[in-house]
Amino acid sequence: MKRMFILNFCSNPVKSVLMLIFLMISFSVLNTAMYINDKYGEMTQELRSDTALVDVCIDIYSGFGDLYKDEGGLNRLKMMYKKLASSDLFRYYEIYTQFMYVLNYDGPPEFKYGYDAGYDEDNLLDTPKGKVRASRINCVQVSKNCFDIYNMKLLNGRYFSDKDYLYTSEKPLPVIMGYEYRDYYKIGDVLKGDYIAKKLDLEIVGFLKKDSHIRKGEALLYLDRYIVMPIFECTEEPSDLDERVFQVRHYANKTSGYLKLMKGTVIGEVPGIINSISASCGLDNYSVWHIPYSLKVDFLTLSNEYMAAGLKYLGYILMAVFFILFIILFIKSVRAQTKIFAAYIISGASLKSIQHYLLLEISIFILTANIVGVLVTTAIFRLPYYSIYLLFVSILLLGIIALIIVRTANSGSISQLLLEENKNVD
């Protein structure tokens, strides 16, 4: 049978190679389309899932001027933060976009706060050395748990450690830079910064991958042009009024984050829960609002659903094309080989072995196409992927081919085909 297969393949190599190429391309297209479709599905899930943290946003309700004056105000805010961070009813994520002044900044204007809207003028800040030029740079403060749920992968460097979230004035604050900073700075560089009127040394410890993003309320916030800093805890007690004012403002930022509700917590109860926490800390009410989906995100998910559906339809059309064509090609090929089959039968081969050989030929083609399909997708996306559709198509195709073989490659039809050919020759 092996010899029979090789003989037949060599007798019409163009046809066999064409069929094989066609099959390989079909399976590769199908596997790739299904991979992309799955990927789109995952991304939609990322937008839709409750870990997207758009459910509740809290912000300080009224000004916090009183807290500056009140010596116990800072402690009340710290207590509020601790209660938020340790609640069993929800998980608390700290995300705040407070720009950072960078002193004597000489990088491109794209990183400046308000650049897209045309407001990127520099300021002069008072320092012990006199007035220094300072640029407002886009900066986002995040808690450690944000790295677990958002697409913030490192291009190089390291993530923030637990120690990085405990600030002391003795060491510089580690920061991770957005992707577009990679051409201007390197790991280990130290920038002089001013974060809500507190002078900080910022040490670059890493760079984010391209298009890293977090979800902040209404929209996706791409971090390519942002400095990411840990939303640290102040370990030192304020030594003067300036320091206290800084810490109050910093903790006001820390208590303005996003919640993910734990199982059993109802969205309608959240304002009451937050306000009871703030009241227990001796603070005013916090504003709590529910953002189910913003227009932008809704549009993204909706469009993507159409896109994924489109790919599926494309996949179905391809499958239909592939099925019909392959079956036609196979029937034509069997008809073309009638004389060869007759010769095999005359030479003593059994009809069953011919049928087995035909099925073997197609099985090898399908197996090769499956392997090539997986290899191609793996090579493109650097991730092994095998769509269940491929298996489904392969089994269905084999079944149909087996049926065709039984119907066309039997003694009756072979002699019938031979008779027809003889008639045509006469």
């Binding site: 163009v14 046809k15 064409l18 069929m19 190429i21 066609f22 391309i25 079909s26 590769s28 297209v29 790739t32 389309a33 992309i36 990927k39 789109y40 991304m43 794209e110 650049y115 897209d116 809207a117 045309g118 298009d211 993003h213 929209a219 996706l220 791409y222 390519d224 042009r225 227009l295 932008k296 809704d298 549009f299 993204l300 909706l302 469009s303 993507n304 159409y306 896109m307 559906a309 489109g310 790919l311 339809y313 494309l314 059309i317 391809l318 239909a320 094309v321 019909i324 064509l325 036609i328 090609l329 034509k332 493109i380």
Partner: protein, 348 residues
Amino acid sequence: MVKINWFVCLCGILMFTLIAALNTYINYLGEIERVSEGFYNNFSVRFKSDSFSDTEGLSKLKDLYDNVNMKKFVLYDITDTNNGLGGFVGVLSKNYSDFPKLQAGRYFKEDDFFHGSRVAVIGSNFINRAYFNNNERYVDLLGATYKVIGIFQAYKGASINSAVYYNLDSKNPGGKIFILDARDVKSVARQISIMENSIKLQKINASSNSINRFFHYDRYTYILLVFIIMFILALSSIKVYFVLRLQKDFILVFNLLGLRIKEILYKCFLNFFCSEAISILAFLILNTMVMQTLSSGMWEYYSISQTLFYGLIMIIFTILLELTLVLHFLKRDKETTGEKINEKNVYT
């Protein structure tokens, strides 16, 4: 007698269907990418300029409008917008019609500019803020009343539906953040360099928040496109192979009978052309019956003209492939016949 090759017909119909699906998918993708970006082309230039925000701003705008070096152009003032998406967008356009899809009314024409009128085209989310007066719709914007000349809806759920376009000359002084757009990249670049000589402007390399940035459609679609083109080419090759296999003997016989190449090609291609024509006809019928009725969602972006255009390119490719192979057969046949005659002469 013409003999229709049903295999060629079927391949043709399938190829057209595949091209239609792919074309629709790519058109849809382009559309939603633009909607997510505020409907500006990706080659448009955003710039900051204070030149139009002083008391001379209007005359400078008029000067720009009269002397613009482009047949079709649009200048957007996005100062009062949410980064170019929702909000009040000032528009100064000439022969430009590439705006979001209209639900009712019209977009701006040349008479709307510098004639002292206040007109606006509002997004569908803005309808509630418009009111009727003498059967005309009006809306209050930026401290003045504008006549609504059109309503657009780009795409369900899109932020751009919260935008309002108004004629830019109605507001003096103008803003300071603008987007210059046109139909092609060269015109925009040329116009910007001309403007740089007359007014002070600073280009803004704004970061994109487009749908493509999140889903990477461009990357994935490119991969898919390459594969599907390969698939269609393989389909054409198989078609040619089977047609030639059937015709090979005839070609050789015709050649042996001494028919001229022209006649052989005519006989070979007549059947092929007829089969292809039937496939186009069948696709057109299919188009009328099925494709045209699928007018919702993605199928809104299906284009019969583009499908036929790409389909015809594929048919031309198939014909050229077949022509090359037929000529190759004829050449090879002549050579082998010549060799046989030579051999015969040697023996005799």
